[in-house]
Symmetry: C2
Subunit: 355 residues, 2 copies
């Protein structure tokens, strides 16, 4: 996309924090780059995007986002190849999805040319924060918040669309055991589960804390009506390998349409891996675990890429998964990251160069 016609007001930081940043000890999402992108919505229109030094926002205590959760976000990554070229992975999908999320939360759509112009100028300014080497990346967080003052429960007339960036190393959260939810729910039919709505995330913290007390790190959410079907993990979509067959739930108004998820589906088709996109019952997975047919469970998401799961719990019982030499998780992670880092051919045109 040509972005040269979209003006972006740029105010550079006087000094850089990069010398004080230990790139070998990065906790996820804790350190931010020197700049941020801000675009205000007021008087019925998105104003000129601005890039300015990363720093605090002044917010009225009655701002809508604090009271009514009118906020959505995205997660993306930028990668640097061995020739110092900067690459994004399917950024148009993130752009389209944030506007889908916004629509469901009654937030005005953000213009595509503003998104790409602002994002690319920001990445070029902060390019030194993107480190070469497998596993290194720049995590990109676009988000929209309702900033209008006033505590009436109605859509705001003022918003901020922002992009902040945080350098990241390979995401490793230790061995992950998941609990299949039997009581708590993430999303209702006809609700906002498909959107990256802020409120979807806080709603998972308490049940996840309870699961942690039982020795699990995450929850696989089941359908709220029956708790009989496995849906997603809140920050990841979920894949199950039974024998050599890969199964994942279809997207719906409860399940996020993950970019990594659909990339895995495309790769599975390319490499003739038997894949079924259909409802996945708790019963079949428990039975497959008992019979030994359940080979893998893994999560997929931008931050984690592919997150292998070592075991799960259901109905008071814990099940371990086998350790595989040739896992699908490893296979897809290798294929995906090589495309992301410009080390493999990109037959699907997923890479997007920032230059």
């Amino acid at each position: 996309m040509k972005t040269s016609t979209t003006p972006v007001d740029i105010q550079k930081a006087a000094t850089s924090k990069i010398e004080n940043t230990d790139f070998n000890n990065l906790a996820f999402g804790q350190v931010f780059t020197d700049h941020m992108m801000i675009c205000d919505y007021k008087d019925g229109a998105w104003q000129t995007p601005k890039i300015q030094p990363y720093g605090p926002l002044e917010m009225d205590p009655s701002a809508r986002v604090f009271h009514y959760g009118q906020a959505v976000f995205e997660g993306m990554k930028a990668f640097k190849d061995e020739e110092d070229q900067i690459w994004l992975f399917r950024p148009e999908d993130n752009f389209e999805r944030i506007n889908k999320s916004s629509e469901r939360l009654a937030i005005p759509a953000f213009p595509k040319e503003f998104f790409f112009a602002g994002l690319e100028e920001l990445l070029k300014l902060d390019k030194d924060w993107i480190k070469k080497g497998f596993g290194n990346s720049l995590y990109i967080r676009p988000f929209v918040i309702a900033t209008e003052a006033g505590v009436s429960a109605a859509p705001a007339k003022e918003y901020k669309f922002m992009i902040i960036c945080s350098p990241a190393q390979a995401y490793y959260s230790g061995e992950v055991r998941v609990k299949f939810s039997e009581e708590y729910s993430r999303a209702a039919d006809g609700g906002v589960g498909f959107a990256k709505a802020a409120g979807n995330y806080a709603a998972q913290f308490y049940p996840t804390n309870l699961a942690k007390d039982e020795g699990f790190q995450q929850i696989i959410w089941t359908d709220a009506n029956t708790h009989e079907y496995l849906e997603e993990a809140g920050t990841m979509n979920i894949f199950f390998r039974v024998g050599d067959k890969l199964i994942t739930a279809p997207t719906s108004d409860r399940i996020l349409d993950g970019v990594t998820r659909k990339s895995i589906i495309a790769l599975a088709k390319e490499f003739n891996i038997d894949l079924e996109v259909r409802r996945v019952s708790v019963k079949e997975i428990v039975e497959a675990a008992k019979s030994g047919d359940l080979k893998e469970i893994f999560g997929s998401g931008t931050a984690t890429v592919i997150n292998p799961i070592v075991g799960f719990g259901h109905a008071g019982k814990k099940y371990d998964l086998p350790k595989l030499e040739d896992s699908y998780a490893g296979f897809f992670k290798d294929k995906l990251t090589k495309i992301q880092y410009n080390q493999a051919a990109d037959k699907f045109n997923w890479r997007y160069q920032v230059k």
Copy 2:
């Protein structure tokens, strides 16, 4: 409650905005008093509550509330009687409920003595903003937001508990027609519908906009599984009068335990009004509307007190409700407001004097 032992750091505003406030033309929740209460949570504890001039907050762009919606709130009112005495209505119920909401959102509980000490000091400082006269009140908005910087999807370690106040006139939103939801949902079983979680509110904006396009002002949410049972209106609980019988849905993990709702239930018992707290089916209400047995629908909530509804829509049809001389809505509103304004006996001990 004795609050004299709880210290509150008070910094008074240099000037008051009250002279510039037109108390005869107040839009709900748009004007705020001179002061606000702030209490920070850090290092595992709530710090000393502070009262300071109302003004903007400085927030890191990565603050959890912007990304993960970790935020809850309450709504209360203060009233002034003819002797300039200040009264709250069942404030302990709001206090208990905000901690229930917080627990579900993995936010640390707020100490009761901090709540009442901060609230009462704030009301005493801003007492001139509470105007006498039926319908006038001070709307009080306690809320908690996750302020910790960092975009990892986990409960924050830093929060702000705040109270802001806005002078209010009688809440009149015009004739209200409601749509019974057939597609969209507010809450899932096992979700956060019972909590005053910020994200519950933004999730309603888009479906409500669609309903407005069809000529309705609000939605009555139905159960997400079947859409066959009427639950609540998002900012109000809902009562139906069929013949002389009053019916309202039981509270659940999807339905807010409204203070006004339970006050109406208590008053109905006191005055021997036939009341059933049970599931209310769409089918029975539509049939009662057709037969003429449906006499009233009204909403109940702190901001609105009692909000009579003039008609509803379902399955593409619109139904009008009769205009009654002796409505239950009018009866309960009279009883409730007289107690709130210290013009009637308070046999349930609902009033709480601030002095």
